[in-house]
Symmetry: C2
Subunit: 415 residues, 2 copies
């Protein structure tokens, strides 16, 4: 085990210090490093400034085994990561003929001549090997020197992330052979993060096990990583324990999404689905269309943000008058209307208040999910903290979560 | 001007180093500091570890005038920010009776007894004054010592952000009185970030002016901040220059959103809108329902992700057969069908390919917007880089952007 192998991320870019972009590379890499048995102990963001970047790199070399830099590999004079690594290591930059050839080929393929300053992207130092970047003009660097490793990657996440997966991860795995590291994720909904955190505490003490709790739009994810020869066994045991602990809340694991789960079940049973939404404003239909099998089961969605539209689509006027648009009764009628209007087997609806308004004198955050199927209708009520910005997406997730529950109840699951 | 007043952000939390959450506080604060004429030169993320946090604070004190910490103010033994500030400054922590009273009152109001370890949140050091936190149990600290200022804020963004605005910003403004700092944002669409960056370069050289370029879901935003007595004048001049430079791409400024603009115009003219979407899967209707006046103009939205649904809603079958669902012809028919089906004055449609698929032999990233109104129909074609994760939301923005253009063309704007 390499748990004393310490990593540090250095994010380079004045634009980060102006708040122009959020540093998603750092959180991406931070979530990846535990899989390699590497401990991340520092993230530093520094400007495109020669003196400051050199200082940060020197400090990082002094306290960390692996330094991962993101950014500063562009072609301009403000792109200083290569220069500073060379300075800190006391090595000289020189143009690598093979990198230059590749770079010129890349520009030719784009139908453009290579601007001369781009030659800055074709340099190396003696201790560095280049890491190919199929999505951009900046190759990365892998540098081994004095028992320290520096990995320099370009800043754009769409370049950095595949380079991390395809180039850096295999090299780090080769460095720690025989180390078996496995992970699993359990996904929950309708349980609070604080409660998950509390219940998961005992697991933090287990040797060879790392636990992470991630608050995602589709609920709280619990990730657990096991090291060593009995990693598989540890994962199985932990999964069983967590599933028991969180049983009514667990809806999936690893790469599962709620929309994939319900669309697979529906498609396998030859059933179709239609939606009518208010309060989630299209996000429910949008989620469903993300599922790979959605075209096999999704008849379509209606967004009925006004009472007139609800009436036009078959929600009875007296129900709205009597109970208000945000009510179990109207959610029920919306689900039935969607089912009928779009000739689907199942109608799914949402109605709720996003934001801080209190229309109809109802509390902000109040929402309903309705389901209409051959066996009747069902509704669920929920109250979101009104301040939460993601009340709409939570509403869409809630609808899919309830649909999953309903399909289980009706015995319509397939595995 | 206080441009040599240097700030550093210290984000505290092992969960950040595990990638469980992305550090949005840092980018929030980074975007705020220029308004105060303060330069952010470093962001450091450190674990909940006494030795490491003290080390980071010592280094920050040595090189920065203002240190803003986020996190580590909770009630547990892992919450070490208070302890480390005290250690680094050589001061002693003691319970502040007034803070204790407020904390106990807060728990009483929540109907709970205060757990004894929460007393950790009621401590101060002699150099610290507390900053009220109406949304949580952790008050912040404002510490002045040895010409350095430390501001300690809790980690949850919904606590940190209002405390920054309401407590910290006024204190920092009072420290630099007479400093007039104003800002404006110009919002563009359909122009590439690299092009904006290039055209904006000359402005970076202007004294008393700071420029930031932000890539947002609704396009590239250009923010400019002016300092000093002639700040207003500088902003006006800069705005006029930028508007000329980017004229066909500029759609709004400051707090404008495309959905607010088009819904305001439509509502003021008594016109109604209906949508039919494919490829944007509900995001277009969702954006429209975000507008405060949407209920006055939005008749509803149809999500037609399958050809059957398009047919059911009145798109002619032969058009789909002849041109494919992703075509200008079908976008046109969808707009017309939405308009007719929902008795609206204007129909707006999207059809396109999200993701890397190539259905119908068409290139991934191809998309169309259609508009149908009293004067006929119009369509626009666009090609997104297929890899982009936000192709769907870009499609919805594109539809609103084209609707805005169309309303201008028809003379239907109101100001």
């Amino acid at each position: 085990m390499s748990s004393r192998y310490k990593a540090e991320i250095v994010s380079v870019g004045t634009e980060l210090l102006r708040g122009e972009i959020t540093d998603t590379n750092a959180s991406y890499l931070a979530a990846e490093l535990p899989f390699l048995g590497i401990e991340l102990h520092r993230v530093v963001t520094v400007a495109d400034d020669h003196e400051q970047l050199c200082q940060v790199l020197r400090q990082a070399m002094a306290r960390s085994d692996l330094i991962i830099t993101g950014g500063g590999l562009g072609p301009t004079e403000d792109d200083l990561t290569r220069d500073c690594i060379a300075d800190v290591l006391g090595e000289k930059l020189s143009v690598d003929p093979e990198l230059e050839r590749q770079l010129r080929t890349m520009f030719t393929r784009m139908g453009r001549e290579m601007p001369e300053h781009n030659i800055r992207q074709a340099v190396l130092i003696p201790s560095a090997v280049s890491l190919p970047n199929p999505r951009g003009t900046a190759p990365g660097w892998w540098v081994d020197k004095d028992e320290k490793t520096i990995v320099a990657l370009p800043g754009p996440p769409r370049e950095l992330m595949p380079m991390w997966r395809n180039e850096v991860t295999p090299r780090l795995q080769a460095r720690f052979p025989g180390e078996s590291i496995l992970s699993r994720i359990i996904k929950t909904f309708t349980v609070a993060e604080a409660r998950v955190s509390e219940l998961v505490q005992p697991f933090f003490k287990a040797a060879n096990l790392e636990i992470g709790i991630y608050s995602k739009p589709d609920g709280i994810h619990i990730r657990f990583i096991a090291h060593g020869d009995d990693a598989e066994q540890t994962l199985d045991t932990t999964e069983a324990q967590l599933e028991e602990l969180f049983s009514p809340y667990v809806w999936g694991k690893d790469d599962d999404t709620l929309e994939e789960i319900v669309c697979n079940w529906l498609t396998n049973r030859g059933l179709t689905l239609a939606t009518m939404e208010d309060g989630t404003g299209g996000l429910l239909a949008g989620s469903i269309t993300e599922a790979s099998k959605s075209s096999g089961c999704f008849r379509g969605g209606l967004i009925a943000s006004s009472s007139e539209t609800k009436l036009a689509w078959g929600v009875p006027e007296d129900l709205i008058k009597q109970h208000g648009a945000i009510s179990a009764e109207v959610a029920e009628a919306m689900a039935a209307a969607a089912r009928e209007r779009l000739s689907a087997d199942i109608g799914l609806s949402t109605t709720g208040i996003a934001g801080l308004d209190s229309p109809e004198g109802k509390p902000p955050g109040l929402a309903f999910v309705g389901i209409s199927d051959d066996h009747g209708t069902r509704t669920w009520q929920q109250n979101y903290p009104p301040s939460r910005a993601d009340a709409r997406s939570r509403g869409a997730v809630a609808a899919l979560f309830r649909l999953r529950e309903r399909l289980i109840e009706l015995g319509l699951t397939t595995s």
